[in-house]
């Protein structure tokens, strides 16, 4: 029961992260210095993404023991799609973390750095949407 709840929390944080990652991508696109609200947005986006990734890592061992085999029995394609989701999840985390640190550290004059951060966030948001879609597909096939 607890694993089912944790799986659900992981999924909800993932959806939240996919939406949240779009916000800094829009905020930073012009490279303007960060307002207080923008700093909060970046910090919370990084936190939500880290929570989604962290919950995924936390339930991964139990997933491998209980659900992974059943997924591959049900459909090899779905099983491999989960593996893809796992790889993309790491990429999303790295992109969000790097862009978050860069945006928060960059001085007001570093317009180009913030524009690069916006692109990085946009890429992370796109990949996160794919991860969410794959996660939903896998969870609808076989959960805990």
């Amino acid at each position: 029961m607890i694993w089912r709840v944790l799986e659900s929390v992981h999924g909800h944080f993932g959806v939240l992260a996919a939406i949240a990652l779009l916000h800094p991508a829009i905020l930073l696109r012009r490279g303007l210095p960060l307002s207080r609200g923008a700093r909060w947005s970046i910090g919370l986006t990084t936190l939500v993404t880290a929570l989604a990734f962290g919950f995924g890592v936390g339930i991964y061992e139990h997933y491998r023991e209980t659900a992974k085999r059943a997924i591959f029995v049900e459909s090899q394609t779905i099983g491999f799609l989960f593996e893809t989701k796992e790889h993309l999840g790491f990429a999303v985390m790295a992109l969000a973390l790097g862009a978050g640190i860069a945006a928060l550290v960059a001085p007001p004059s570093a317009v180009g750095v913030r524009r690069a951060c916006a692109l990085t966030y946009a890429a992370a948001a796109m990949l996160c949407a794919v991860v969410v879609a794959l996660g939903t597909l896998v969870a609808s096939t076989q959960g805990f």
Binding site: G31, V57, Y60, E61, R64, K68, R69, F72, Q76, G79, F80, E83, E86, H87, F90, A91, A94, L95, A96, L97, G98, A99, G100, I101, A102, A103, V105, A106, P107, S109, A110, V111, G112, V113, R115, A116, C117, T120
Partner: protein
């Protein structure tokens, strides 16, 4: 007037820009390192067998991700050392020192953890 999007005016500002560039290099470098490891694994083992995936240890993902993050940190340090350096003459010294201070202990800790938790 320079058309560069990055205007450098003080050492502190230069350092902050260098840290930001290092973070962006990490953002791109870590996923590329992860992909490189997967390509190596696939090249070594051939097409993926579902049975091998099912019996795969859960720790393999953790270590692959940790190793990729380590490579991301190494690349970030190199980018920082390159961007923060006002003159090229001391770049090598700064790069070696920073890699020694950060990346080597991280590599040692990673190796130790991999040995203890295979």
């Amino acid at each position: 007037m320079s058309k560069s999007p990055i205007k450098r005016s003080s050492p502190i500002e230069t350092r902050r820009i260098a840290i930001a560039l290092g973070a962006l290099v990490f953002a791109l470098g870590a996923p590329f390192a992860y992909v490189a490891q997967r390509v190596f694994e696939r090249a070594r083992s051939g097409p993926t067998d579902p049975l091998l995936v099912v019996f795969d240890l859960h720790t393999s993902f953790y270590w692959r991700a940790s190793t990729a993050a380590w490579w991301g940190v190494v690349l970030a340090i190199a980018a920082y050392a390159f961007a923060a350096q006002p003159s090229a003459s001391t770049l090598r010294h700064r790069l070696t020192r920073t890699l020694g201070i950060v990346a080597l202990p991280l590599a040692f800790a990673l190796g130790l953890a991999m040995w203890r938790m295979p």
